[in-house]
């Protein structure tokens, strides 16, 4: 890099010859201690943030999608089910918040499926780090996306006339419960992302699971109006527990049993799908 022509080429294409003093930049001595499991996971979450920075279009699903869901269901069912959209919104908003975020969790699987096909995962898996950290970090990054979706829905709800009885603390607690559950729930899709061959099949299978789970619940209507066999399903549907818990937190009327069941189901989902995901990941 002594001549001006090289410097010019560097400006033009960034493709300059390799410096002669390459030997000097080779690190000597002991490499640093590998990072802890937590700090490696956070570093991978940072990678997810960088990807959003470079490809901001991927925020479409956490901004436009929740807006459409909220508007659509409020005005579609509001008049029929509660007399007016404003009144229905008081019941619907916590439900549509949960439903939207639950739907968005499937993009975790889709994104992972695309990501893991790339060669960079070979490098990640040869690093001396806690192996699950690449996936844990990706899911933490997605939890940030879920928070953004939650903020969008709650702001829109407030603008449309939703008034949470639980106040600021209730809203924060409700969103917190939702994020905890979504973190656990995402591992179903990470497993699918590793099991299935293409992004399309991940989408298809996730939609098949998510639609019944979110519609056959207390998201839109009180389950007491349903036939008893369907009530039986709603009683064991983890999404229904989550909706009841979030609805309670937002309204300021805590539903302790639903909250407990939500934590139990989140724990069970994580305990089953976390290890299964890692098994698949290690085998890839």
């Amino acid at each position: 890099m002594t001549s001006t022509s090289n410097a010019e080429r560097a400006d033009a294409g960034g493709d300059t010859p390799v410096a002669d003093n390459l030997g000097a930049v080779l690190a000597t001595g002991e490499p640093p201690t590998p990072p802890s499991a937590w700090s490696a996971s956070v570093t991978f979450a940072w990678r997810a943030m960088l990807k959003i920075k470079h490809v901001p279009e991927q925020l479409f699903d956490v901004t436009a999608f929740p807006v459409i869901m909220t508007l659509m269901f409020t005005y579609l069912f509001g008049g029929a089910l509660a007399g007016s959209p404003e009144e229905y919104l008081q019941y619907l908003l916590p439900g549509v918040l949960v439903m939207s975020v639950a739907m968005i969790t499937m993009y975790t699987g889709v994104g992972l499926n695309a990501d893991i096909q790339k060669g960079v995962f070979d490098r990640f898996r040869t690093l001396p780090i806690w192996r699950p950290s690449a996936l844990v970090g990706a899911v933490i990054g997605d939890v940030c996306r879920y928070s953004l979706a939650s903020v969008v829905i709650i702001l829109l709800g407030l603008a449309l006339g939703y008034r949470p009885g639980g106040g600021v603390l209730g809203v924060l607690a409700g969103v917190g419960l939702l994020l905890v559950f979504s973190f656990a729930f995402s591992w179903i899709w990470t497993l699918l992302g590793l099991l299935l061959r293409s992004e399309r099949s991940v989408m298809g299978v996730s939609a098949m699971v998510l639609f019944p789970l979110s519609f056959l619940s207390n998201v839109f209507v009180d389950p007491r109006t349903m036939p008893s066999w369907l009530q039986g399903f709603v009683d064991v549907n983890p999404i229904a527990h989550l909706v009841a818990a979030v609805r309670g937190a937002l309204s300021g009327e805590w539903d302790a049993s639903a909250t407990l069941w939500m934590f139990v189901s989140a724990g069970i989902i994580l305990a089953i799908f976390g290890p299964l995901t890692m098994r698949m990941y290690n085998r890839k």
Binding site: G13, G14, D15, V18, P31, R47, L50, G119, T126
Partner: protein
């Protein structure tokens, strides 16, 4: 079994099966430390599968292997501390910039934030990528991608570096840059396991070569030994006058007992030398043949002795194997 006295790589009977295909079918190999070891073979020979097992990315279905004395299955975490992998397909995040990639990997290797940033800057400078540091890697040229990929592998100097077909698809200038980089890295004491389907690449870089086909090692040795084992060399003669070419052909054919070809150059001809046991035998044959030309009054302006190319070695070895099968 201390880690320091063990060879860089030792495998015995390593097997990997994918469905009905035995991708790696019993490889025994010992790779000494601090040199370039070449794995040479055509597409689908099992080179990448072999490397992926050693890099702890795939679990062997049979046999075992060690890296600096550490078992690649039982002590995978210890193996990972000593190796870096530059895969056949860019092992770098194409959505991120050059700097972001190196900082990310620096952090994952345990560097602090500022140390990782400093290290990224040093490497980008040294690899001639400073001007492209803030561009996404997907906009890099093929040669630049390879360089950032290798730079990512030496953020911390590994004891063993896997380079899986590092120059496939590169133009000659970029290929030479990669070769220069590999030489510098090895000069600092790192062992490099290089897979390639380019015979001249193995010839230029590797101290020892294993030739792999259908998942097994079909030959192993220094480039010179491999050539000598095939035994063929050639002598190329340039005559003063093209009129003596037919006469020279007869003399050489009689003396060497092999086929003689006229070159495109009207005063030149090339004769193969039949299989001697070593390179010196070939030289003796050639000098005797040259003496005969002089006795017969044929004036030789120039001559050169050609070793068999690795291409010939490879074709000879795979043919032999093909005939046996």
């Amino acid at each position: 079994m201390t880690a320091s006295s063990a060879p860089a790589i030792e495998t015995s009977g390593l097997v990997k099966v994918f469905g009905a295909t035995r991708a790696v079918d019993g490889i025994d190999l010992t790779v000494p430390e601090a040199a370039v070891y070449g794995i040479l073979g055509p597409n689908g020979a099992g080179k990448t599968t072999f490397v992926r097992m050693l890099a702890t990315l795939l679990r062997p279905d049979g046999g075992h292997g060690t890296v600096f004395g550490r078992d690649i299955v039982g002590e995978a975490a210890l193996v990972r501390k000593q190796v870096s992998l530059t895969g056949q397909y860019a092992s770098i995040d194409e959505d991120l910039t050059g700097t972001e990639n190196l900082v990310l990997l620096g952090r994952l290797l345990g560097h602090g934030k500022s140390a990782a940033q400093r290290r990224a800057g040093e490497l980008l400078d040294a690899f001639g990528l400073a001007a492209a540091a803030d561009r996404q890697v997907k906009h890099y040229s093929g040669g630049m991608r390879r360089r950032i990929d290798i730079a990512a592998s030496i953020i911390s100097t590994p004891r063993l570096l896997f380079l899986d077909e590092p120059t496939t698809g590169l133009d000659p200038r970029s290929r030479n840059q990669v070769w220069d980089i590999v030489r510098v890295i090895v000069a600092q004491g790192t062992t490099v396991l290089l897979t390639t389907q380019y015979l001249d690449e193995a010839d230029h870089l590797a101290g020892r070569i294993a030739v792999i086909d259908h998942g097994t090692v079909i030959a192993e040795g220094t480039p010179g030994e491999l050539k000598a084992s095939v035994g063929a060399g050639s002598v190329r003669v340039r005559l003063r006058s093209g009129e003596q070419r037919v006469q020279a052909e007869r003399v050489l054919a009689a003396e060497l007992g092999t086929e003689v070809q006229f070159d495109a150059d009207p005063v030149a001809l090339t004769a193969r030398i039949a299989g001697g046991e070593s390179g010196r035998g070939a030289a003796e044959h050639a000098s005797r043949a040259l003496a005969r030309l002089a006795q017969d009054g044929i004036t030789v302006d120039d001559f050169s002795l050609g070793q068999p190319s690795l291409d010939e070695v490879f074709l000879a070895l795979t043919d032999r194997k093909g005939n046996r099968a």
